[in-house]
């Protein structure tokens, strides 16, 4: 399991606050609020499950089931832990149940189960494509990565620094304001402008990947 998937190592410690607010709204019946959490965590959850299960279709099914279970149990989320930590446990339990169910069908089970060495905590994200990853999608992901890095490098220093401190170092707005010696509002504005500039570069690629979807 790579570092990024481990619960509790979320560099966006502040994002837990918006998660709690979104959970609150979802519990009150706002399904869109829950969908925002899904959009946010879907990739991480699928990566996590992908370390336990080989079949990518099955990964998606388990991820679906994970979010459905999470939605049903959302009222039990007390906010003591990060939302992702809670979701992580549901995903692992759901994947285990699926695998247990599949044990009745050894042929499917063997093909679905990842090699045991990949379950190791130190295992890094696999470099080879999974079963349904096409060369095009691998290339697109690579292009998006390069576009993000290129866009970041092209940013004015203050925007670049604000976004880096936020996303890579996980600093809060207050801490960034202290580091950059500027008001909170300026921090918010700089981070936003930096994100807009970078995402403007990748939005066409995202649209090409999945179409107009949100």
């Amino acid at each position: 399991m790579s570092e990024q998937e481990k619960p509790g190592l979320d560099t966006q410690s502040q994002s837990g606050n918006s998660d709690a607010l979104l959970v609150e709204r979802a519990v009150a019946g706002d399904q869109r609020a829950f969908e925002l959490l899904v959009i946010k965590y879907q990739r991480r959850i699928e990566r996590l499950i992908g370390r336990m299960v080989r079949d990518t279709n099955l990964v998606e099914d388990i991820a679906q089931e994970t979010f459905i279970r999470a939605y049903r149990a959302l009222h039990q989320f007390r906010g003591d832990a990060q939302f992702y930590t809670w979701l992580y446990r549901i995903a692992v339990n759901t994947a285990k149940r699926f695998l247990l169910k599949l044990k009745n069908d050894p042929a499917v089970f063997q093909s679905s189960l990842q090699a045991s060495d990949e379950d190791d905590e130190t295992f890094q994200r696999r470099s080879e494509p999974s079963t349904d990853e096409t060369p095009e999608s691998v290339l697109a992901a690579k292009e998006i990565g390069q576009a993000v890095n290129a866009a970041l490098e092209a940013l004015p220093d203050d925007l670049k620094q604000a976004l880096t401190l936020r996303e890579m170092d996980g600093l809060s707005y207050e801490e960034i304001a202290e580091v950059m010696n500027c008001p909170l509002g300026t921090v918010r504005s700089r981070i936003f402008r930096a994100r807009e500039a970078v995402s403007a570069r990748i939005k066409p690629m995202l649209d090409k990947q999945g179409g107009k979807r949100w």
């Binding site: 990024q4 560099t11 966006q12 502040q14 994002s15 918006s18 607010l21 979802a26 519990v27 399904q31 869109r32 829950f34 969908e35 925002l36 899904v38 959009i39 879907q42 990739r43 991480r44 990566r47 998606e60 991820a63 679906q64 089931e65 979010f67 459905i68 279970r69 999470a70 939605y71 049903r72 149990a73 959302l74 009222h75 039990q76 169910k101 994200r125 999608s137 992901a141 998006i144 990565g145 993000v148 890095n149 880096t164 996303e167 890579m168 707005y173 918010r188 981070i191 936003f192 994100r195 807009e196 970078v198 990748i202 939005k203 995202l206 990947q209 999945g210 107009k212 979807r213 949100w214």
Partner: protein
């Protein structure tokens, strides 16, 4: 992008960082509710953040389908969340509408709760009855034994003659009891029973 649109999208960015509260949070949610562009920004901002943190973009082509599929499943979940069961007790794939629900209406989960209520009440009633019977069983023999002398004294049995009651005896029964004295100490129940008199042969006592 207009100034208003910029300000709106800045709200989404701040929401990504958990930096909006109160009215601003409500505004951001309303924006995300009505604007596909805002939701695209929400998605793109998270992809940017993940790419910067991991050094690798991880976007799959089925993300939109995933959310649409999930949305369809969640629409089946019409019951208020606070009334629903914990996930550990659930079977896999339970949200798929069953064949008994051809119109695609959500399954009537409220019925489950009614049945649960009925079963719960029945269980409580059963426990109450059993407890009452146990209480009766343990309390009545002593009560009957305690009241026996008074009842005896007050009785005007035809066996009692004058102030000193004399029991009429059958000589054959006496002989039988004398022959089987070893079996006469206890009743067949092996415990005190208010409704049985022990038939013993105690010659000396009479």
């Amino acid at each position: 992008m207009t100034d208003t649109s910029m300000a709106n999208t800045e709200l989404v960015s701040a929401l990504v960082d958990g930096q909006v509260r109160g009215d601003e949070f409500a505004q951001a949610m309303a924006l995300l509710e009505r604007s596909g562009e805002a939701r695209q920004s929400w998605h793109a901002y998270h992809v940017v953040g993940e790419t910067l943190r991991t050094g690798q973009a991880d976007v799959s082509a089925h993300e939109a389908d995933f959310v649409l599929r999930l949305r369809a499943s969640l629409r089946q979940e019409t019951m208020p969340l606070h009334l629903q069961a914990a996930p550990d007790s659930l079977n896999l794939k339970t949200v798929v509408p069953s064949a008994q629900d051809p119109q695609g209406k959500p399954r009537i989960s409220a019925n489950d709760h009614r049945w649960r209520l009925v079963v719960g009440l029945a269980s409580v009633a059963m426990v109450g009855v059993i407890a009452w019977q146990g209480f009766q069983g343990s309390a009545s023999p002593q009560a009957q034994l305690a009241s026996a002398p008074a009842a005896q004294a007050a009785s005007s049995s035809p066996l009692a003659v004058g102030s000193a009651p004399v029991m009429l005896r059958d000589p054959q029964l006496d002989a039988l009891l004398a022959a089987h004295r070893q079996f006469g100490g206890t009743s067949a129940l092996q415990m005190p029973a208010g409704f049985l008199r022990n038939a013993t042969f105690e010659e000396g006592a009479r």
